[in-house]
């Protein structure tokens, strides 16, 4: 056997082994993700309404999808969700970056224990279950006994108490504030990891060359942090797109449907109205949307990593 042939045979054996090693993971994903997904797709092509068994469960093709895109409430819910994602993720990214930079600087100032304590404290809001923290925010923004009204009236920012949660515009403030409060620490943690992977010698070199802190930030920190930012953005955007518990507890999607998100509407179609077929179609649309977003993100971050080397 020639050496070349041996290499080829080795490669083939490795490939076979790789396939065998991949198999359990693939099988698990198929069972956990693939089967329910296929089932949901099947449901979405049928009329299936638990309240109306006399209608049967006939195949209706894309009828559920057609209804969804002509359903103003669904379309508005998508808009609400996109608005929520854009505003809250932007604020979280800005806040998280500021927090991460602060935490990154702290090691030079304080000792090991206080550093750990500080990080735990910063992460605390993220560790509280969303439903519980949403309740706290509801009390804060309560129209009668809320602290927020008291403070703002005391500071003469507003003339009289507002009923935040039943105002179609103002209701977004507690929702976004609660999300930013809760998730900024998580963003900060991801970005901190990114910051710590930047080679310190680059900063030393910059300082020797006479670069100021702003120059260091824009020329070294930001470009080298971009991969971490892209990953964080992907995580947060996809997560924020599924927002449910926060709005469910704070406003229930109201007043009217002024703060209803896609997940909330899908939930009501599925568990309150028992329209399994239609709710599956809504879920498939959301799934396709998030999948598309995910693919775009991966493409973008790959290209980015390639061009940066």
């Amino acid at each position: 056997m020639t050496p070349a042939a041996t290499v080829t045979a080795d490669r083939a054996r490795d490939a076979r082994l790789a396939r065998r090693l991949l198999f359990p993971a693939l099988a698990a994903i198929t069972v956990i993700v693939g089967v329910p997904l296929a089932w949901m797709l099947w449901e979405s092509l049928h009329l299936h309404d638990l309240r109306m068994p006399w209608l049967g469960r006939p195949f209706i093709g894309l009828e559920n999808y057609r209804e969804a895109i002509h359903d103003p409430r669904f379309v508005v819910a998508v808009m609400h969700t996109l608005f929520f994602v854009a505003v809250s993720v932007t604020l979280e990214l800005a806040g998280g970056l500021a927090l991460a930079l602060t935490m990154h600087r702290v090691p030079y100032v304080v000792s090991g224990f206080s550093r750990t304590l500080l990080r735990v404290l910063i992460l605390l809001p993220w560790a509280i279950p969303t439903a519980a923290s949403a309740l706290i925010w509801r009390f804060l923004f309560d129209g009668q006994a809320g602290v927020v009204n008291e403070i703002l009236v005391g500071l003469h920012v507003i003339a009289g108490p507002r009923v935040w949660l039943v105002d179609p515009t103002l209701a977004w403030i507690p929702i976004i504030a609660a999300d930013v409060w809760k998730t900024t620490p998580f963003v900060a943690l991801l970005l901190l990891a990114g910051l710590q992977s930047i080679d310190q010698s680059l900063y030393d070199a910059a300082r020797i060359d006479g670069a100021g802190p702003w120059r260091e930030f824009t020329e070294i920190t930001l470009p080298l942090l971009t991969p971490a930012i892209v990953v964080t953005l992907a995580f947060r955007a996809l997560d924020a797109f599924r927002v449910f518990d926060l709005i469910y507890v704070l406003t229930g999607g109201g007043p009217g449907t002024a703060t209803e998100s896609v997940s909330l509407y899908t939930f009501s179609a599925l568990l309150q109205k028992l329209r399994f077929g239609y709710a599956s179609a809504l879920s498939m649309i959301v799934f396709a949307g998030t999948l598309g977003l995910g693919v775009i993100y991966i493409r973008l971050s790959n290209r980015h990593l390639l061009t940066r080397g």
Partner: protein, 434 residues
């Protein structure tokens, strides 16, 4: 057997290999499961509200049942009090064809929905004494001429009014607006009329009383939704006016459910309140209420030429169609809906019985509210539309009512949109007669 296995498991700690230990733990778990299964032979599972005082009363009633039927044991499975959360939990269990819980406590609006889904056992074969119950409550539990649940206790919407601030219960909407406004001003109270205006079922129950009070109907003769009639628009405008024109209702009511409403009234900050009977004993308790002895109940107002109504609510008892113990399950329902047990509930929880004859019993006069007043309100009770799609009808209406009340929409266009969507739903379901 279970204990022995567990003991072996713990004794072997550090001596045998971890594989044997793990195996023994798994075996113990299986033995445990098998034992539970065996006990299941004559154990009934009852799903209902069992928190706090409600739970104590239920336990007491079930103890009495177990004493009378020593061969049956009843396990209480506590479910959330909030109607929609309870509904979600039941949907998950029943849709999965679980044989437990055997007996379910369900809200009156749920019966036709679960009956149509084929999840409830028809009760006619047990020959329940339906004629002894409030007819409106029995009608609400029938779907396509079959009875699927028995009324347990009834709820009716009513007006609580401050007897120290008003001379009489306001009879008409105009009278109420004027009297409440005057009393609020004269006594410097922060609120006049408090009601449940959050976007949930409670809002629909209040609207229904206004709608009927203005002479409207939820459903027309052919089964079509007619909430966008002139009466409907006047009803919704009146509710909206109480917030924005008369300013007797704070905008906060648009986020309030029963409890926030009760707190506002109980703390003496409001003149009148729309709520359910459960509030009565709490308001009458001088230890926690500032209005004890200073309030009375009456019917909701109406306009001249229309009748006042009280939205019928209440809890029903139904049997899971997949139960393994239908006869035992019905025996439990029979016990809980017996005259004696219903009077017990009146006495302990102030919940109104579903049996009409009980309102004449002397025991009934022991509870706070004068029986003749309660009787008068109960006689005006109207059920919400009895249809399997009620939950969605109500949701469509809630959204539009709330949009109008938060001034995102005019009452007329909001109701028109609600009626359009609801009629489209009824048509899709094949529930419109023409």
């Amino acid at each position: 057997m279970r204990e022995i296995l567990l003991r072996i498991t713990f004794c072997t700690y550090g001596r045998r290999s971890s594989v044997i230990r793990a195996g023994l733990v798994i075996l113990a778990v299986f033995v445990q499961l098998a034992c539970t299964r065996q006990q299941g032979a004559n154990v009934l599972s009852f799903a209902g509200s069992a928190v706090g005082r409600e739970g104590q009363i239920l336990r007491r009633q079930i103890d009495a049942f177990e004493a009378a039927h020593p061969e049956i044991r009843v396990e209480i499975r506590s479910v959330p009090d909030a109607a929609d959360q309870q509904h979600q939990l039941y949907v998950q269990w029943l849709n999965a064809r679980a044989s437990e819980p055997d007996v379910l406590q369900i809200d009156v609006i749920t019966t036709p929905e679960f009956a149509a889904a084929g999840w409830l056992l028809p009760l006619d074969r047990f020959n329940p004494p339906t004629t002894e119950f409030l007819p409106a409550a029995i009608d609400a539990n029938r779907w396509r001429h079959t009875l699927y649940a028995m009324p347990w206790f009834v709820d009716v919407g009513m007006l609580y009014w401050r007897s120290d601030l008003l001379d009489a219960a306001p009879a008409t909407f105009d009278e109420m607006a004027a009297a409440v406004s005057r009393a609020q001003r004269e006594h410097g109270l922060p609120f006049g009329f408090v009601w449940t205006g959050a976007r949930y079922e409670g809002l629909v129950t209040v609207f229904l009383e206004y709608l009927h009070g203005f002479g409207g109907q939820f459903l027309g003769p052919s089964g079509r939704v007619t909430v966008d009639s002139e009466a409907g628009v006047r009803a919704l405008t009146a509710l909206s006016d109480s917030i924005y024109r008369d300013r007797t209702s704070p905008p906060d009511v648009l986020a309030w459910q029963e409890e926030q409403t009760r707190f506002a009234f109980q703390s003496g900050r409001a003149v009148v309140m729309r709520n359910w009977p459960y509030a009565y004993p709490l308001l009458a308790d001088p230890a926690s209420s500032r209005v004890a002895g200073k309030f009375a109940i009456g019917l909701m107002p109406h306009v001249a030429g229309a009748a006042a109504v009280a939205t019928l609510g209440g809890q029903q008892l139904a049997i899971n169609v997949h139960t393994r113990h239908p006869d035992e399950a019905y025996a439990l329902i029979e016990h809980l809906t017996s005259s004696g047990q219903m009077l017990e509930r009146v006495r302990l929880a102030g919940e109104y019985p579903a049996r009409t004859a009980l309102y004449d019993r002397p025991e009934f006069s022991d509870m706070g509210a004068p029986p003749d007043q309660i009787r008068r309100i109960i006689e005006h009770a109207v059920p919400r539309p009895v249809t399997p799609v009620y939950a969605e009808l109500s949701e469509l209406l809630q959204v539009q009512l709330h949009r109008a009340l938060t001034r995102q929409e005019e009452p007329a266009s909001a109701l028109h949109e609600a009626a359009r969507a609801m009629n489209a739903l009824l048509a899709r379901a094949g529930l419109l007669s023409s």
